[in-house]
Amino acid sequence: MNRFIAADSTKCIGCRTCEIACALAHEPSHDIEALTPTRFEPRLHLVRTFQVSTMATCHQCEDAPCLHACPTGAIFHAGDVVQVDQLRCIGCKSCVIACPFGAMQVVTFPAHRVFAGIELPGGVKAEAHKCDLCANRDAGPACVQVCPTKALHVVDAATLEETRRRRQQHSALEPSGLSAVA
């Protein structure tokens, strides 16, 4: 089973600490001063309505629509997470349309080509951004680490099973109290 980040809206206070953590974790230089409005691409986003504050991000779907929609095969299963091979991304945005959670985002930036040993400007390069569970980060997903109210969790097979078991028990014992499930 793929692991994914689950957000608990009852604990979210909408502070967006996780958005900065995400943007910084994916900034190649890891230098906070490199973050600017044009270079700030968090892969999870605060959703705020009258009653709800929560983070929207990738569910690492088992049968991922983004993966199926990608015409270049840039999106693939890597172990227990859905990843993007940015070299193959052409920025067609099919994945953005396909994702039911709005978790895909295509960003572009000026590209360079090397010709005869000289770097030349060459159009734009596109990247399909999605949560990669901070695959290259030793401490795991940055958003989960910084959330001050612990509203974000990594869910894996074991924790999902544990949740199921707890809910089964709860519903068996207190069938009328489902709304109070923790």
Partner: protein, 729 residues
């Protein structure tokens, strides 16, 4: 990499972390298991440190002393000797000509530290000879201090941050913890998961309202009526603790005389709340074993702030929710050291440790300690008195430390007129600010991260923070600068380090006496009162229901509701309240120079508006609009949201273009002199040409940044002979 223990320089939550330093450059933060933060930080704690590296995103750091001899001229670089001589010479002249009470001094509730505030107030009282000293607690929690002192005897949170998660009921009144103190809001979330009932009284559907059992969306400006109705329900429905009231309080009869007419039905037209909602709230609150009230600026920034604080204290007194663990009342402090600046006596009526300047024995004690025959006995000016006093010719000089009144005070036009009327403005700060543009002298100080000291967090907790970075040559610590000017004025002051200052002040303040540097080392946390070294500090106040009022009893005091001063009408149909942006702090001189925080929120700032009001005006979400009051007009970006109540709009106060304080009214609470930031009548107008408006924001922002940056680069220092000629006679 080196690590240095810091207390976060932003809100009053008192979070501890290591500042990571490489080659004298700040490179990161790692949270520590501090008493209040338990290893957690918010976005300002995690990503609010890069201003230390002088990013120049908003404004440049001040690097050298500067003087200008006419406010039309650019600043000129001068040596410290010249700057000190100039300031002392001018202050001396003004004191001689107009008397010491023509000079105003400010402390700073920000990164300067307690020691710097102690020295600043000593500078005012001993070196200048005036009690004209205040800090920006005036514009935030002064009503809490005044109101709680009158009712309970002490002006601070009665409980601790850690207790909040173990209470059985949290009543949030005008308190939006999620935006102002995420790490305190975290405890409210924890309380909820532990089963506490949450009640939120706020016109906006704030984050806490979302997780509340009960939300009371009262009309803007009806606080006193609601609090009185709470008391009315507690008494008429027999929910209050008769024994507690009989044994530990005074004034019930007079209190009831006022409260009795404030039935939920009577206040319905004022508050807009269904009577059943008010009754239910009090049944939950009084039914909880331990209940806690938290409030913020939604209670204090009113023309009737002090009265409402007394009213909230009354609710806790009626139900006996004081004097024991996990209950109490908490004005949650907004600036990291606003509690500390007050503790240190940066107030016009108190010496350090809340010892009244009007008491002869206190004056005698401090005069003796400070080697003076006597100290002034007249209560000084408050910060909010300054513009009018300057316009009236009563104040001639202002010595500002680490504050930006040209951004943060109400009715900025009046503030500017006040500044213009003064003969001398000295600004001691770390960044070029809007206030700096009015200054005659700029004295560059070290920043948080570049000096040692002690902060007081919101729950009376003294904590040490450590110097992590070597300041660039040419900067001095705030306390060094004040000491030099005092000495030049003929009152010798000298300290070698902050511990010397701390030891002097705790020896003069009985309730701080046991809080030694040693005890506060590392992650040490000492909550006052701490009368001696063996004392562990005080988690909650009033054990045994003994209050620190003169009689030892809690005072029940009620007031009639008064309507806000500004009036909404056809021309100005909306109420403007000023509120907080989670990622920015105070005037944003620090957070505005942090890359991540500025990326998240920048000019011109938002005006939030209900979809119904927006639709009526033809205002679209994210469009630029004009917001105009009877005092000014600014541009802001519309944020159309159902969380904002109909008939009201909200702006945050740190923006230059969307500067809401151009709009706010200068009406203050008569007892605390705190401005009514929460109620100014305005109108919102759509702008047809959005392309022009976007360009206007961009150009204006660049121009303002450039002006401040240019001003921070002074003309080179004059040749020695010329400089000498410029020195005051």
């Amino acid at each position: 990499m080196e690590k240095f223990i810091e207390v976060c320089p932003y809100c009053g939550a008192g979070c501890k972390f290591n500042l990571l330093v490489e080659n004298n450059k700040a490179v990161g933060v790692e949270p520590l298991n501090g008493v209040t933060n338990q290893g957690e930080l918010c976005l300002k704690g995690y990503y609010g440190w890069d201003f230390l590296n002088d990013t120049k995103i908003l404004t440049p750091r001040l690097r050298q002393p500067m003087v200008r001899y006419s406010r039309k001229d650019p600043f000129q670089a001068v040596s410290w000797d010249e700057a000190i001589a100039f300031v002392a010479g001018k202050l001396g002249e003004i004191k001689k000509k107009y008397g010491p009470d023509a000079i105003m001094v400010t402390g700073s509730s920000r990164g300067t530290g307690n020691e710097a505030n102690y020295v600043a107030q000593k500078f005012a009282r001993a070196a200048i000879g005036t009690n004209n000293v205040d800090n920006c607690a005036r514009v935030c929690h002064a009503p809490s201090m005044v109101g709680m002192m009158a009712t309970l005897g002490s002006g601070a949170m009665t409980n601790s941050v850690g207790e909040l998660e173990n209470t059985d009921c949290v009543l949030c009144f005008g308190y939006n913890g999620a935006d102002s103190h995420p790490i305190v809001a975290r405890r409210i979330v924890k309380a909820k998961t532990k089963g506490a009932k949450i009640i939120t009284c706020d016109p906006r559907h704030i984050e806490t309202a979302r997780i509340s059992d009960l939300w009371l969306p009262l009309k803007n400006g009806s606080n006193m009526a609601l609090v009185n109705a709470f008391a009315n329900v507690l008494i008429t429905e027999g929910l209050y603790k008769r024994d507690f009231v009989a044994n530990f309080t005074e004034g019930f009869d007079a209190y009831w005389e006022i409260i009795k007419k404030y039935t939920p039905e009577y206040v319905e037209p004022i508050t807009g709340l269904k009577p059943s909602l008010i009754r239910e709230a009090m049944h939950i609150y009084a039914g909880a074993k331990n209940a806690t009230i938290l409030w913020g600026m939604g209670v204090t920034q009113w023309g009737q702030g002090v009265d409402v604080v007394k009213g909230l204290a009354g609710i806790a007194l009626l139900t006996g929710n004081l004097g024991h663990l996990n209950a109490g009342i908490g004005p949650v402090r907004g600036q990291n050291n606003v509690q500390g600046a007050c503790d240190m006596g940066a107030l016009p009526n108190f010496f350090p440790g809340y010892q009244l300047i009007t008491k002869p024995e206190m004056r005698e004690k401090f005069a003796k300690a400070w080697n003076l025959p006597s100290l002034p006995d007249k209560v000084g000016f408050s910060l909010t008195d300054v513009p009018q006093a300057a316009i009236d010719g009563k104040l001639k000089a202002m010595y500002i430390m680490g504050e930006d009144p040209a951004q943060t005070e109400p009715d900025l036009d009046m503030v500017r007129r006040g500044f213009e009327a003064m003969e001398l403005i000295v600004l001691q700060d770390i960044f070029m600010t809007k206030t700096a543009m009015f200054a005659d002298v700029i004295l560059p100080a070290t920043s948080w991260g570049e000096h040692d000291g002690v902060f007081t967090s919101t729950d009376r907790g003294f904590q040490r923070f450590y110097k992590a970075l070597e300041p660039t040559p040419g900067l001095k610590h705030d306390w060094q600068i004040h000491s030099l000017v005092a000495t030049a004025l003929g009152y010798p002051m000298h300290y070698n380090n902050t511990e010397e200052i701390w030891n002097e002040l705790i020896s003069l303040c009985p309730s701080f006496k046991g809080a030694t540097y040693e005890k506060m080392a590392g992650l040490g946390y000492v909550q006052w009162p701490c009368p001696d070294v063996s004392h562990a500090g005080t988690k909650f106040l009033y054990t045994g229901n003994k209050f620190s009022t003169p009689s030892g009893k809690g005072q029940l005091i009620a007031y009639e509701w008064r309507a806000p001063a500004d009036k909404v009408d056809e021309e100005f149909p909306l109420v403007l309240g000023t509120v907080r942006e989670v990622g920015h702090y105070s005037c944003r001189s620090m957070t505005g120079n942090c890359a991540a925080l500025t990326t998240l929120a920048d000019e011109p700032g938002y005006v939030t508006i209900n979809p119904a009001d927006a639709a009526k005006l033809g205002v679209h979400d994210q469009a630029l609009v004009w917001v105009q009051s009877r005092r000014g007009k600014v541009m802001a970006r519309a944020n159309v949201t159902e969380r904002t109540n109909k008939g009201a709009v909200y702006m945050t106060y740190q923006w230059w273009i969307g500067a809401c304080n151009e709009l706010t009214i200068h009406r203050v609470d008569p007892d605390s002199k705190t401005p009514e930031y929460k109620y100014s009548a305005v109108r919102v107008e759509p702008i047809a040409d959005q392309t022009w408006a976007e360009a206007y924001v961009k150009e204006t922002y660049s121009k303002l940044k450039r002006e401040l940056a240019d001003a921070a680069v002074p003309l080179p220092a004059a040749a020695p002979a010329q400089a000498k000629a410029l020195e005051p006679a």
